[in-house]
């Protein structure tokens, strides 16, 4: 008898717990981004204000663009995420594979007045970021001035950090090998162009330290593990501002992308998720992100609302834009699988 009672008791406790936790799951919104300074800024600019205005619980998670996780969720029909931050290529690839809701056609987003490229079939851009070259200021007698300097190990010897991904890496290898910015993607679409990019990477492979999360490059630079690293500009600005990292940034040849919201197909809170995305592209809301991280707005009407003192740190500032390349999501959606496979095997050799 005592055993039966304890079973009944624990069963009831479990039932109560489930009942208590379920409404929280059903009402809340789970937003996923890339952690670190970006997610903190998004929390302050988008998530907290939205949660407050709508009296809704916003749960957060982080990822690094690993599509397999998303694919597993969608395939199993157990979608735990509602809104996800992607870069253009992740968004386009996932959209192509049918993993995302096609929200791009919604009037709410079409009429939001987004800059060119910030609205695609499945993704709504919320901020402009750039991959830039960050370096320790005292490491070299002559500071690097452009991203392609990372391939010059004679003038700039020592370890250098790259993101463990073919995206941006291959484009930059071609730029460094003398391909014009306008020809990068057409060259990379040919087998010879891919060979050329990997051949260029081979020249510095032994000096490369690979990073996976955006918070790593400032860390690697500060600890002296690498002397220069490709990084997302907001992360470096954040480390300089908050941790006195004193890191230099070379902007020329920056590779520009959008942080975009997408909604996985089968999201359990589709309406709320769309409402949240629409909230993020209201001009006044969209402009506030730049106060917390050095990423620019995507809403045209928001650019006048950005505080004047942060403008020089944004990727879109004229003095930063020389030789800028825009990441081509559609290219990666088409060629990503093959290039990822080749990259993974190349890196493990």
């Amino acid at each position: 008898m005592p055993r039966a009672r304890s079973f009944k008791q624990s069963f009831l406790v479990g039932l109560v717990l489930t009942a208590v936790s379920f409404p929280a799951l059903a009402d809340g919104l789970t937003v996923v981004s890339w952690g670190g300074a970006l997610q903190e800024a998004q929390t302050k600019a988008f998530l907290d204000p939205y949660a407050k205005a709508n009296n809704i619980t916003v749960t957060q998670d982080t990822w690094s663009g690993e599509l397999a996780k998303l694919r597993a969720m969608v395939d199993s029909g157990n979608v735990a995420w509602d809104v996800i931050d992607v870069d253009p290529q992740t968004g386009a690839t996932a959209c192509d594979q049918g993993l995302l809701e096609k929200i791009g056609a919604d009037v709410a987003f079409k009429s939001a007045g987004l800059v060119d490229g910030a609205l695609t079939d499945c993704a709504v851009g919320t901020s402009v970021y750039a991959t830039i070259l960050a370096f320790q200021k005292q490491a070299f007698p002559k500071a690097p001035t452009k991203l392609t300097d990372i391939f010059d190990s004679t003038a700039f010897p020592g370890k250098r950090g790259f993101r463990k991904s073919p995206v941006d890496t291959l484009e930059l290898a071609l730029l460094a090998d003398g391909v014009a910015a306008s020809d990068v993607y057409t060259t990379l679409a040919t087998p010879a162009g891919v060979d050329r990019a990997f051949k260029k990477l081979d020249t510095i492979k032994k000096d490369i330290v690979w990073w996976e999360a955006g918070a790593q490059p400032p860390q690697l630079l500060k600890s002296g593990e690498v002397k220069m690293a490709l990084a997302w500009n907001g992360r470096i600005a954040d480390a300089n501002a908050k941790e006195n990292a004193d890191l230099g940034i070379a902007w020329t040849n920056q590779i520009r992308g959008f942080d975009m919201w997408v909604i996985p197909s089968g999201s359990k809170n589709l309406a709320a998720a769309k409402d949240f995305v629409a909230f993020s592209v209201k001009p006044d809301v969209n402009a506030t992100l730049s106060n917390y991280i050095a990423y620019g707005p995507t809403v045209k009407a928001a650019s006048d609302l950005v505080a004047k003192d942060v403008l020089p740190n944004l990727p879109s500032a004229p003095q930063n834009s020389e030789g800028a390349l825009a990441q081509d999501g559609a290219f990666w959606a088409k060629n990503g699988d093959a290039l990822n496979a080749r990259f993974s095997s190349w890196i493990s050799q």
Partner: protein, 434 residues
């Protein structure tokens, strides 16, 4: 009087010869079966204390390994999603393309798979073997949702080829034809480094892919180096501990065991602190003026090997100590008294007798090293990663469980192949000492 039962028995056989003859077979059977059931019961009772072990082995060894093997050979996505197409294709000779009717069957099954939600697993599976395979499958399903004459097989064919020219070539068809069952050796072939990927026209793909053979070779090589070095470092340590007594031995043993009580992760992280560019070692060397600028030590194979040696040392040393302790010291003394020098006495008397310990410790270290994951992942570079890293990668990131399982199966059976004969050898030669 001295043998009362014997007498009685004798009397009985004499008096009841007939009855006994008749009763004997049944009685014998009863006795024998009661003896048998008794010994059976006794055997069961004797085995009872081992039951937890057997249940444990079943739950945590036999069943998991069995399920890994099962996952490695399970390959039913194609047959499950396209049962009629695979059946119809058995009649196709593999040249050119199948008959037009098959296109219609395939198209209908693709549509059904789209509704059932099995289209993406199918696309992924075909993509493992056909370059751009996922696009070929998903693109076909998408194009078929458009308007065309559904009664005409020719229209289905045209629609599919319009979706992707690969449908007009033999590659994709030959893949679908081949996987008509639920099991295949595809993942095992892939994991053992055979080329598996083909182009739309059936030629082997030139696309670069993982070189699993060199990854296995690297795993074995790193494990061998670590084993060799732990033996070299551990042997003198074990010798000193085995030959000292009381307090000294206890203190030395304590230092050997100390790493056992620290988490593997903590030990590996402390190697990062120690080896990084501005870490303890580099700063010390720079301060003494031995090196002009910091050496790149972290994210190298050397760092991997050093950290692995530190972690494996106790596993090598402890079996050596237990064997060395059992070697009678007076044998070495006898050799010395007969004129052998200290080195010769050691090499001819002590060393040969300690070999079972060296072999046991070395074997343990080697087998454990084959499965290392955390340490190379944290202190090694991308080209120092061992098989376990790729198993984890395919399990967690690519979600290619078939390949991950196939890699595991090869690792398990490879390690078993090395370990079992050696282990038997060690056991045979050390049974009289331990």
């Amino acid at each position: 009087m001295t043998l009362p039962y014997g007498d009685v028995g004798l009397v009985m056989t004499q008096n009841d010869a007939h009855g006994a003859k008749a009763a004997a077979p049944t009685a014998r059977v009863v006795v024998r079966s009661s003896i048998r059931s008794d010994s059976h019961r006794r055997a069961v009772r004797a085995a009872l204390p081992a039951a937890p072990l057997l249940i444990f082995l079943l739950l945590f060894l036999v069943i998991p390994i069995g399920s890994i093997v099962h996952t490695a050979v399970s390959d039913g996505e194609i047959a499950r999603a396209l049962p009629l197409t695979t059946q119809a294709l058995q009649a196709w000779d593999g040249d050119d393309v199948p008959v037009t009717a098959v296109y219609m069957t395939l198209g209908q099954e693709l549509e059904a798979a789209g509704h059932a939600g099995s289209i993406r697993p199918l696309g992924r599976r075909v993509g493992y073997e056909l370059s751009r395979g996922a696009n070929v499958i998903l693109g076909a399903q998408r194009t078929l949702s458009k308007d065309f004459d559904r009664a005409d097989p020719q229209a289905w064919k045209a629609q599919l080829i319009k979706a992707d020219p690969a449908w007009g070539q033999s590659g994709v068809w030959s893949i679908i034809r081949h996987y008509n069952g639920r099991y295949s050796a595809f993942y095992l072939r892939w994991a053992t480094g055979f080329p598996v990927k083909i182009e739309a026209d059936g030629r082997l793909s030139q696309e670069a892919s993982y070189d699993f053979r060199s990854i296995y070779l690297r795993t074995i090589l790193i494990s061998l180096v670590v084993t060799g070095l732990t033996i070299l470092i551990g042997y003198p340590v074990a010798y000193v501990i085995a030959n000292s007594s009381g307090r000294t031995a206890a203190v030395l043993l304590f230092f050997i065991l100390l790493p056992f009580w620290t988490s593997l992760l903590v030990r590996t992280m402390s190697w990062i602190v120690f080896l990084q560019t501005n870490g303890v070692l580099n700063n010390t060397l720079a301060r003494t003026g031995l090196i002009p600028e910091p050496l790149p030590l972290l994210y190298t194979r050397m760092a991997t090997i050093i950290a692995m040696i530190q972690i494996q040392l106790p596993f090598t040393v402890l079996p050596m100590i237990s064997v060395m302790r059992a070697i009678p010291t007076n044998q070495v003394k006898a050799a010395r008294s007969l004129g052998a020098g200290p080195l010769r006495a050691h090499a001819t008397i002590f060393l040969p007798q300690s070999i079972p310990g060296i072999a046991a410790g070395g074997l343990l270290t080697f087998v454990l090293c084959l499965g290392f994951y955390l340490t190379p992942a944290l202190v090694g570079g991308p080209s120092d990663q061992m098989v376990s890293f790729f198993i984890a990668r395919f399990t967690n990131e690519d979600l290619n469980w078939g390949l991950a399982s196939a890699l595991s199966v090869i690792l398990i059976f490879g390690a078993g192949l090395v370990a079992l004969p050696l282990a038997r050898h060690v056991a045979r030669h050390s049974s009289d000492r331990i």
